[in-house]
């Protein structure tokens, strides 16, 4: 077993940082070194910010987004069109759509997709809450912005079945050529989908 090069507190910090996405043990060690070197400017504010986050972060009871208030900033924003709800798999997808500034609408975060292999069924997702939200009225359009994967689209179809008979327009994101994409490098399925969804110019 390798000998520790620092005290248990620092070793613990390295171990925890190494669990973050994009960081391995080596980069976690470098990050830890930076933090302890700049204790007052970096480590103390970071620790305080994290402690505050632990106390205040909650899941929005309306849409499943993560925020420090409930309802979240997006759900409480009166300037948004709450008659349009964009369904996303994860908070990361919500952030991506917000960065794109494509639509000033409300969201619903599913918390994943149906995955038999990973044992994720409808009860593990917020599909029931979505159905209740739509049944509550006020939503005219539901945009299923799930990933273009077999699991994502299966989830979309499942949601569509659950909402059968409800007075809501259901749409999904287009599938096709990405901006900057070269046709030669695209798979034939994407090309065929793009060709079928062609638009008039």
């Amino acid at each position: 077993m390798a000998k520790s090069i620092a005290g248990p507190e620092i070793e613990r910090l390295i171990q925890l940082l190494a669990k973050l996405p994009g960081l391995g043990p080596r980069s976690a060690r470098r990050a830890t070194l930076q933090l302890v070197k700049r204790r007052e400017q970096l480590l103390a504010p970071l620790a305080a910010a994290m402690a505050t986050a632990v106390e205040t972060v909650k899941v929005c009871s309306t849409c499943g987004n993560i925020d420090t208030r409930d309802p979240c900033t997006i759900c409480a924003d009166a300037s948004r069109d709450h008659s349009v709800v964009i369904v996303v798999e994860d908070v990361a997808d919500l952030w991506a759509l917000e960065r794109a500034k494509a639509l000033n609408a409300a969201y619903h975060v599913l918390g994943g997709v149906l995955s038999p292999l990973e044992g994720i069924g409808p009860d593990e997702l917020t599909i029931r809450q979505l159905v209740e939200r739509i049944a509550g009225g006020g939503v005219k359009e539901l945009i299923l912005a799930v990933n273009a994967t077999v699991e994502g689209q299966t989830t979309a179809h499942y949601i569509m079945d659950q909402l059968a008979g409800m007075d809501v327009r259901i749409t999904r994101l287009a599938h096709g050529v990405p901006v900057g994409g070269e046709l030669d490098y695209l798979d034939e399925g994407t090309l065929a989908a793009a060709m079928r969804s062609r638009t008039a110019m």
Binding site: P21, G22, P116, L117, E118, G121, P122, L144, A148, T149, V150, Q153, T154, A156, H157, Y158, M160, D161, A164, I170, T171, R172, H175, D187, E188, G189, T190, A192, A193, R196
Partner: protein
């Protein structure tokens, strides 16, 4: 250890930040798992979708190791399967059924069946929302026959060749829930309440209807539940009900409800 073969992707499970454990069906090595490094990359994620066909190279130090896969796409069907609920639920159901097989146990007939069904589901006529009623029923019929073959490969095959009571080969209308053998209409008449209906298209060359396919799924569902799901403490996959509903919806005059 190394081998190279054509395979069909059944599913993937995340492993770490960038890799996935991929489940493939091969013709001569059955259902096989392996690690694909970088499987969550932009290049490989579209390839590792259920239903896609790939050329796979498996490498490991010892045969009993899980090993790693290097995959190259040969036929990408997933995008077309995603176009209809029939295709989506169909591929999920086939994958769920193949997961009932032990790993690395070859089942070439099931592999061939899987390939034919996926080609049908992804074909121009069947993979689109404009899918016509006859093709929806045909897809249901194919998966039904796949379930019968699956039961046989698991050692619980149905005997639909002749009547269990009289030996007659004609007018077979029922299946005994106890023996899984066919029973003729005349011999089964006194017990018809207790027998399972046998759709005619399974024993004769006659066209099937949506009701026939539905009756067929009740038949295979009974035996799958009794011999496979219940003894293993499993429930029938939810994709089975979803697929049967998609076939019924497809065959209805309203037709397919695409997104």
């Amino acid at each position: 250890m190394e081998w190279r073969e054509e395979a069909i992707v059944l599913g993937v499970r995340r492993h770490g930040e960038s890799s996935v454990i991929t489940e493939l069906m091969t013709r001569s090595r059955g259902r096989h798992l392996g690690l694909v490094r970088g499987g969550r990359s932009r290049r490989l994620q579209p390839v590792l979708q259920p239903g896609n066909q790939v050329q796979v190279t498996w490498r490991a130090r010892l045969d009993e190791h899980m090993g790693t896969f290097a995959v190259e796409p040969t036929e990408l069907r997933a995008a077309r399967l995603m176009e209809s609920s029939l295709g989506l639920h169909g591929v999920q159901l086939l994958a769920a059924h193949l997961r009932l097989l032990p790993e690395r146990d070859p089942h070439p007939r099931l592999y061939d069946g899987l390939r034919i069904i996926l080609d049908h589901l992804a074909s121009e006529g069947a993979g689109l929302s404009a899918l016509n009623r006859r093709e929806g029923i045909a897809a249901g019929e194919m998966i039904l026959r796949f379930e019968i073959e699956l039961l046989a490969e698991l050692g619980f095959g149905l005997d639909l060749s002749c009547c269990a009571a009289t030996g007659a080969h004609d007018d077979l209308a029922y299946v005994s829930p106890k023996s899984g053998r066919a029973v003729s209409r005349v011999a089964g008449a006194p017990w018809k309440e207790k027998l399972l209906p046998l759709p005619a298209f399974l024993v004769e060359a006659v066209p099937s209807s949506a009701a026939d396919v539905s009756a067929g799924f009740l038949l295979t569902g009974y035996f799958l539940s009794r011999h496979v799901f219940e003894p293993r403490g499993l429930e029938a996959p939810s994709s089975r009900d979803a697929f049967i509903a998609a076939v019924a919806m497809d065959a209805s005059p309203a037709g397919e409800r695409g997104l």
